[in-house]
């Protein structure tokens, strides 16, 4: 059952393109190495504003809850990961990270 990790980032005005480029260049390779597959990078509205925030929604997938734990166990001892998010703070107004699954999978995921 596929697990989705969703980063929703509201960028500072004019920073969306730089944020996406930086995320893909610096963050994505390590995330892939931890077992995540990049599904989507969506920009809303689809305009590179120079004076307004954009909302960037990045979706990763993992094949199971076990894979989610293996991903986070690989990342958690690495202090560089948390500091990467802190370092990119200048491009970010606010962000969330959530974990989700398809509605059809919810009952089975909870039946453990």
């Amino acid at each position: 059952m596929t697990i989705y990790v969703v980063d929703r980032v509201v960028t500072r005005p004019g920073c969306a393109r730089k944020f996406v480029d930086t995320y893909l260049a610096e963050y994505a390779p390590g995330a892939r190495a931890r077992g995540m597959t990049l599904r989507d990078v969506l920009v809303s509205p689809p305009i590179w504003f120079d004076d307004q925030p954009n909302t960037v929604t990045i979706t990763w997938s993992l094949p199971s809850a076990q894979a989610w734990w293996e991903m986070t166990w690989k990342g958690r001892p690495d202090p560089g990961l948390g500091s990467w998010w802190e370092g990119i703070g200048g491009l970010v107004e606010e962000r969330t990270r959530s974990v989700a699954a398809a509605a059809d999978d919810v009952d089975r995921l909870c039946d453990v």
Partner: protein
Amino acid sequence: MYSVTRLLDVADGERDRVLAAARVGAAATQARHQLVEPTLPGVRNGGEILVHLRFDTEHQWRSAETDFAEALSDPAITRVNGVCYSGDASSSSAQAGTVYRALLLRVLPDTDTRIVNRFEDDLRRMPRYVNTITAWQLSRVDEPVGTSEWTHVFEQEFTDVDGLMGPYLMHPIHWAVVDRWFDPECPDVIIRDRVCHSFCAMADSVLR
């Protein structure tokens, strides 16, 4: 109830001797519930021996504290993490548990009280969804000991080790709700210090 938990790191080859001495020391405290057991494979930062004592009152512990500390002064004990705290447990199943688990954690200083309350609410929500938890208690720490200024201890009794390593880990309440407070990648993170995750076999319930 007033509770005392100690996680003992022990020098190689000394565990059984220290375990026997710790059991004698625990018995001398006359705590209502005493659990002194070797930890099981899979603990993280959880020591080789788990000691858990439950007293009717804090006064009873304070009367026994000095002698118990003496019992744990063996040089083969290389590190002690622990907590003292008040509180009562909740039962979440009629089934008896066979594994006792304690999670010691430190919430970052200056975390907003409302955030701490939300974090605690999330932890309290777990036993509703993880049916292998038979009893549990979430407590704020009065007195931390060891490598961190522990602020909370979350105790559970599980049906068995599989109930801890399987449903507890794999239910979405854990990885999609609670873990965000511990995840340095999540903006909600409020626990950055290494936690103590320790568990051991339990012949009789200590939380009920």
